[in-house]
Symmetry: C2
Subunit: 415 residues, 2 copies
């Protein structure tokens, strides 16, 4: 715990320095880090091989092994990611707006770093360089706690990134890794509120729930998505089938994939057979309520549990509703505040859905798969927030900043 | 606890309704509430008399008794406050910005309510109508936990405000008071994260610390201010004396009052005697370091504890520094992130101070007393945030909102 306290203090001290760095220095660090990542590829891959061997020994699930695995191509991707962040506009120090008060005070809202950002994540070593580059570009120091399964890989990557900081004369403690991955240390990390401004858990629902319950540092929930598409009575059914096919099957494991379909009862007889035909190619299992099952050749009865489920798989729950209001109420009850879409040609229905659905991204006639920092044009993404405080939806660089008011006077005193 | 769970559920359900209310209905509720507050003044004042009698019996400190006391004039102030909020522009539903992506998706960032806001406060019954009007105008439901000392007053006020909601056909549960003011219930309230989006503690440092440590709901810290004025070597000394006099004495009990003075060693010999003369009128006690004491006729030696103290009284700590860097480092170490001011005629020094000081409001040549929602032109204030997440500095209506992305497509699918 003493170490953790020191890590917190180091980060806080470094954050005062990183907040003052010029854009040129920050970019030079990121370019240098990209270069060193490739120069040190043998060392990093050797460290990764240790983690992989340990994973094999423990019988790690193949999907996890794949996330853990690094190779030259993946390292190149990490380096290129850092170069891309270097090319993004630096938001720090810009004045978002300014105004003059009747007493002559000129008030400006200046974008500033948050300070120290903590990130808790699981077995993907690429998150290490990814998170560092976004936090550092926005003038923040960061403290990372990766999964124990990737500890050797993360240590090797962090060593290289810190070398880039040193070589470019930036504070080395702008990046620190918590090497002790024990549960007690992770728990204590969540209470470093004296030093850490923001904690972002990146991982499954279990991790996020634990962090929200335990942390005394403000937390941003990310990446849990029980996303719906609602096919309205006024939908273009061919478009609807194309969108559901895309939202469900284009990449099933991601948080913006569709998990549940709602269909208006008036179009269910025409739409559901068309959709079943479309989805056949991908062997999607349909878990349907009774009203929908009537129009499907093959389906599994949906249970209450299905409505709240993020499958992350080729499975779709299907429910027939008798009104737009019923669809909205169902979504607002079961969703996770991520992405929801209505397919309709009717303007009032589209507007009502946009207004009343409580989610980070609400679509009309488009796939939910677009909820993404790159697709939104932010040029980066540290996660997709499913909460309402501070940042909501895809989080680009702006989500890692705060602001302060700067005020120019010429002797004003309060009356 | 069962009751608390029900209060949470009620608030969440009400928040879906309040989020949809038109500006006209929201304003009508606030106008009606203002009217009913005066129509029911006898009942409210009788309830307040019960609280005052109980306070007297318990030997309550006279400052607290004064905060607790209502009279016709204060009720009129509360009613007028609600009417003022009715006149403010409604931010809900506005599109902050919108842009079109290359694939034709039109993305807009729409301002929406946060949902349910919880407020924990102490003995001022006027906070009840104040907080309700700001939360309700921004389409939020709120749950209030006032101090046990004001429970009869709060119950009477809340009954009247809920009557206004009913009369204007708005959801009554847009406002709920937790009537059980026990410690256990308050603690349980801080864990209603399933229903409450944001918790704002309004009160002393002890209350705020407890809430930050205990709450699993995101918290905004407000109102703790150890504010500094730094008199630079290039200061206009007459202006500096006027500003320090104002920042220290215009109202000593508030969070944006000055608590500590830093003086550059080059101007200390000329400035400190001038300041002492100016402050004499208000009998301000000066707690000075050795270097400053030399230039003061009368002072008390400052201890380490003084640098971190929010006196809220006619006391000022005084320290001489040998550089701007030393002043900045001292402030960033001891301040509470509230308001700091530099007095200087030198542009680079002013800019360095603005850039490097870590606080919600950073001033050049003005009193710290301007950090206030009304003085900033926001037309309202629910508190002054001293943290960096979500909202910083004076919090007007905008601080009680979130946003969602609304996206119009015409069949877009992700490639």
């Amino acid at each position: 715990m003493e170490t953790l306290e020191r890590i917190g203090k180091n980060a806080k001290a470094a954050s005062f320095e990183t907040g003052k760095l010029s854009t040129a220095v920050k970019n030079a660090v990121l370019e240098k880090a990209a270069e060193l990542l490739m120069d040190n590829k043998e060392e990093i891959l050797a460290a990764n091989a240790l983690d992989l061997a340990e994973g094999e020994r423990k019988g790690m699930f193949s999907g996890l092994m794949d996330r853990l695995r690094l190779n030259e191509e993946r390292l190149m991707g990490m380096a290129e990611g850092m170069r891309q962040v270097a090319r993004l506009e630096d938001p720090i120090g810009s004045i978002e707006r300014s105004w003059t008060r009747p007493n002559g005070l000129l008030i400006g809202k200046m974008i500033v770093p948050l300070g120290v950002i903590g990130v808790i994540y699981e077995a993907r070593p690429n998150v290490t360089s990814d998170v560092f580059s976004l936090c550092f570009k926005t003038g923040n120091a960061c403290i990372l706690k990766g999964g124990s399964d990737a500890i050797n890989s993360n240590k090797a990557i962090v060593r290289v990134l810190r070398q880039a900081l040193v070589e470019e004369k930036a504070p080395e403690n702008a990046l620190q890794l918590i090497e002790d991955t024990s549960r007690e240390t992770t728990k204590a990390f969540m209470h470093l509120d004296e030093y850490v401004s923001l904690l972002i858990p990146r991982g499954g629902a279990g991790l996020i729930r634990t962090v929200v319950k335990e942390s005394s540092i403000p937390v941003i929930h990310t990446g849990i998505g029980n996303c719906h598409v609602y096919v309205d009575e006024f939908a273009d059914l061919a478009m609807a089938a194309k969108i559901v096919f895309n939202a469900k099957t284009q990449r099933v494991s991601v948080c913006n994939a569709e998990e549940s379909l709602l269909v208006h009862e008036k179009v269910a007889p025409a739409f559901l057979p068309l959709l079943e035909e479309t989805l056949k190619e991908k062997h999607v299992e349909l878990r349907a309520d009774e009203a929908s099952a009537k129009y499907l050749k093959e389906s599994v009865p949906a249970t209450e549990e299905d409505w709240g489920k993020e499958y992350g798989d080729y499975i779709l729950s299907v429910k027939t509703v008798s009104s737009l209001d019923e669809a909205i109420a169902h979504i607002n009850h079961y969703n996770t505040g991520h992405s929801e879409s209505i397919i309709t040609e009717n303007l009032p229905n589209a507007q009502k859905f946009l207004r009343e659905i409580d989610a980070a991204a609400v679509y009309v006639n488009a796939s939910t798969r677009f909820t993404d920092g790159f697709e939104f044009g932010f040029g980066a993404e540290i996660g997709i927030s499913t909460q309402k405080m501070h940042a909501r939806g895809p989080m680009g660089l702006a989500a890692l900043t705060s602001y302060k008011y700067i005020i120019y006077g010429n002797g004003q005193i309060r009356q």
